[in-house]
């Protein structure tokens, strides 16, 4: 299992649209993927549970991936939370 804790810089946080992109991306990987904010951890493939975290820009979240393609998954998903060209 690998884990990365990062600050969300995506301007919209995980509003419906970016959250849906996140879930679509999660489903491309074989790894078990979880997203956590504070003490609450939810499965990466559940759009509803991810949205219930209410993630906005500036929140600190943890990505946890475990499986054969965990490295690629972590990288791809971090890119949604921290898109290029958006600074904290």
């Amino acid at each position: 299992m690998i884990e990365k804790t990062l600050e969300v810089t995506n301007e919209e946080g995980l509003h419906t649209r970016p959250a849906n992109s996140f879930v679509k991306e999660v489903k491309k990987f074989a790894s078990e993927i979880h997203l956590a904010k504070g003490d609450v951890e939810v499965p990466g493939k559940s759009l509803l549970k991810i949205m219930k975290l209410g993630i906005v820009k500036g929140d600190v979240v943890s990505l946890r991936c475990s499986g054969s393609d965990e490295g690629d998954a972590l990288e791809a998903l971090a890119a949604i939370l921290q898109p290029e060209g958006e600074t904290p």
Binding site: E11, E12, G13, H15, T16, R17, A19, N20, S21, V23, K45, S46, L47, L48, K49, M51, K52, G54, V56, K57, G58, P83, E84, G85, E86, T87
Partner: protein, 585 residues
């Protein structure tokens, strides 16, 4: 008269169409179930279609409905909005919903519709508990998904609101995203909802279509009935109920009368050249917020757009508009004005104009905080996208220019210039002078700019350190204060030494006395609000241009704002507006 939250400006009057939810009985099974016995639990209908089978069949119907909606929204509004409905489809077909329904059906013997509504209601409440307003408002989306699914399970179909009569006033508990996507908005005179707020889906849609809208009207559905005549005032946030035919006719008459006076005023302004009494011309531009207003500006005789406030464009979307979406808006404004010039101000949000979907950190002093070009420089992707969209319209041959808000240093100008695509190198870049810093180094800034526009609202506020919105100090806010006149003098000299034009797009350009002072001080163009242009032309047509000589010196010598104001007021001849039919001349 009922009170709510003003959510989209304007007045709309007409007959109510209540968007009703098709009732789904939650205590028994529906006509779509195999047996019509009407038992209330799974156990009483052994051997018939199971509740989970009913759920799955309903979900297929709902999923097909959302797929059609996605296509419709994609065509009518755009891909970004369509992606939101893709998210709704994902929630509808996701495991969470199915698992929750399965558990309720298996363990408690609940019927599928009830299980769906219970789960989505519980989830919606959880959203309402979240901190961010954006996520609180998503509760409505979740309830919408649940109701559509319950309807599909019970009836085997999902209804359309059907044909609307002309001038319909749409009334609903909450205008759900799927309901708004189905509305024939051309027929909608106004929208009023019992729940929701300024950032709810209905409000955003109403603003984007210029439909008057009031949200959050407590108890609305109990008070109105279909076909009642009502007046919705989106500026005041009121809904006037059960207006009689006579009242409605009187209101329509008043609207008609005002419209005809406005027509004459507009025609006069359009046909009257922008000239002083002796025939010497001056330049008058308009401030606009979008293409519709640009058309109005053209029809009232504006010679160009001196300020396109793109924050209004951005506020019409529920998320940052794409390059394509922005280019379409800039193009529409330019086409409305063509061949006259259009100055597009880069997104100026923050401080008193937060963007609902953008992240704005808590600031102790928002007016000294991340606003104007600072907001954009912290989000280079957004800045790049906006410049790309304007450059595209420039390359199509439109007379479009870029204006940078809240400049304090030369680096901000070079940073914007660096982002201009190489094939659009001729795109004019100018600055808004609205900070004391920009006034003091105007020579250096002018050397890097193609034009200067003075934003007097912020400039006066920052020079005098007065918040004009604060009633305790509003009296200190003086537009012709000696410090403001000194600053304007410095700016005009700086611009003219650099060989560039200087315009003014603040409030001062919209009132005859202060606008006269600006022109006397050597400002090349004034850019006024569209509605102020006829009054300005009417005032200036009575003044010989030669009378402005010496006014600048006297304004500079004035010891107080009042003295300066009297100086320009003395030039103005008061008479009836020429469009009322009885001019004195």
């Amino acid at each position: 008269m009922m009170k709510g939250i003003p959510s989209s400006p304007g007045i709309g009057a007409g007959a109510v169409v209540v968007l009703h939810e098709r009732e789904v009985p939650l205590g028994r099974t529906g006509p779509n179930s195999a047996g019509k016995a009407g038992g209330s639990t799974v156990h009483s209908r052994r051997g018939e279609e199971s509740e989970m089978e009913r759920f799955c069949r309903g979900r297929d119907v709902a999923a097909a409905h959302y797929t059609t909606l996605i296509q419709r929204v994609q065509e009518a509004i755009g891909p970004d909005e369509a992606e939101i409905f893709e998210g709704h489809l994902e929630i509808l077909t996701g495991d969470d919903l199915e698992e929750a329904v399965n558990e309720a059906v298996m363990n408690s013997g609940t019927i599928a519709e009830r299980a769906v509504i219970d789960f989505t209601e519980e989830t919606a409440r959880e959203f309402e508990e979240l901190e961010s307003e954006y996520f609180q408002q998503r509760a409505g989306d979740i309830r919408d998904i649940g109701r559509r699914l319950a309807e599909a399970i019970y009836y085997g179909s999902i209804t359309d609101p059907g044909e609307l009569p002309e001038n319909s006033v749409i009334v609903a508990e909450e205008l759900t995203p799927s309901a708004t996507a189905r509305l024939d908005t051309d027929k909608v005179a106004a929208i009023a909802t019992e729940k929701g707020g300024r950032t709810s889906h209905a409000a955003i849609l109403a603003r984007s279509l210029s439909i008057p809208c009031v949200t959050g009207v407590d108890g609305l559905l109990k008070q109105v009935h279909s076909r009642a005549l009502v007046v919705v005032d989106g500026d005041e946030g009121t809904v006037d109920l059960d207006v009689s035919e006579e009242r409605l006719a009187a209101i329509r008459d008043r609207i008609d009368h005002e419209r005809s006076l406005l027509d004459r005023r507009r025609t006069w302004s359009f046909e009257s050249p922008a000239e002083w009494a002796d025939g010497v011309p001056y330049s008058i531009y308009a401030n606009v917020g979008g293409a519709k207003e640009a058309e109005a500006a053209r029809d009232i005789g504006a010679q160009g757009v001196g300020l396109f406030r793109t924050e209004f464009l951005f506020m019409r979307f529920s998320d940052f508009p794409t390059v394509d979406q922005q280019a379409a808006e800039y193009r529409a404004v330019c086409e409305a004005m063509a061949p006259r010039p259009v100055i597009v101000r880069l997104l100026d949000c923050g401080a008193d104009k937060p963007l609902p979907y953008a992240y704005h950190a808590e600031e102790d002093n928002p007016f000294l905080g991340e606003r104007g070009i600072r907001f954009l420089q912290a989000r280079e992707k957004r800045l790049r996208a906006q410049i790309e969209a304007i450059a595209r319209v420039h390359n199509e041959g439109h007379a479009v220019k870029v204006m940078i808000p809240m400049v304090i240093s030369p680096e901000e100008i070079t940073a914007v210039r660096d982002l201009v695509p190489s094939d659009a190198a001729g795109l004019p870049i100018g600055i808004m002078v609205e900070t004391p810093a920009a006034v003091l180094i105007v020579d250096r800034l002018a050397a890097l700019s193609d034009f200067i526009s003075v934003g007097t609202n912020d400039l006066v506020q920052y020079l005098l350190t007065v918040d004009r919105g604060n009633p305790r100090v509003a009296d200190y806010y003086r537009e012709l204060h000696p410090a403001v006149i000194a600053a304007l003098t410095t700016i005009v000299r700086g611009a003219h030494t650099a060989g560039i034009h200087v315009g003014v797009c603040g409030d001062t350009a919209s009132h005859p006395d202060t606008a006269l002072a600006l022109l006397a001080l050597g400002v090349d163009e004034i850019s006024a609000s569209v509605s102020a242009i006829p009054e300005l032309k009417a005032a200036f047509r009575n003044i010989d241009s030669s009378r402005l000589e010496g006014v600048a010196e006297r304004l500079r010598a004035a010891r107080s704002a009042d003295e300066a104001r009297n100086e320009v007021r003395a030039l103005i001849v008061s008479d009836d507006p020429p469009w009322t039919g009885n001019p004195k001349r």
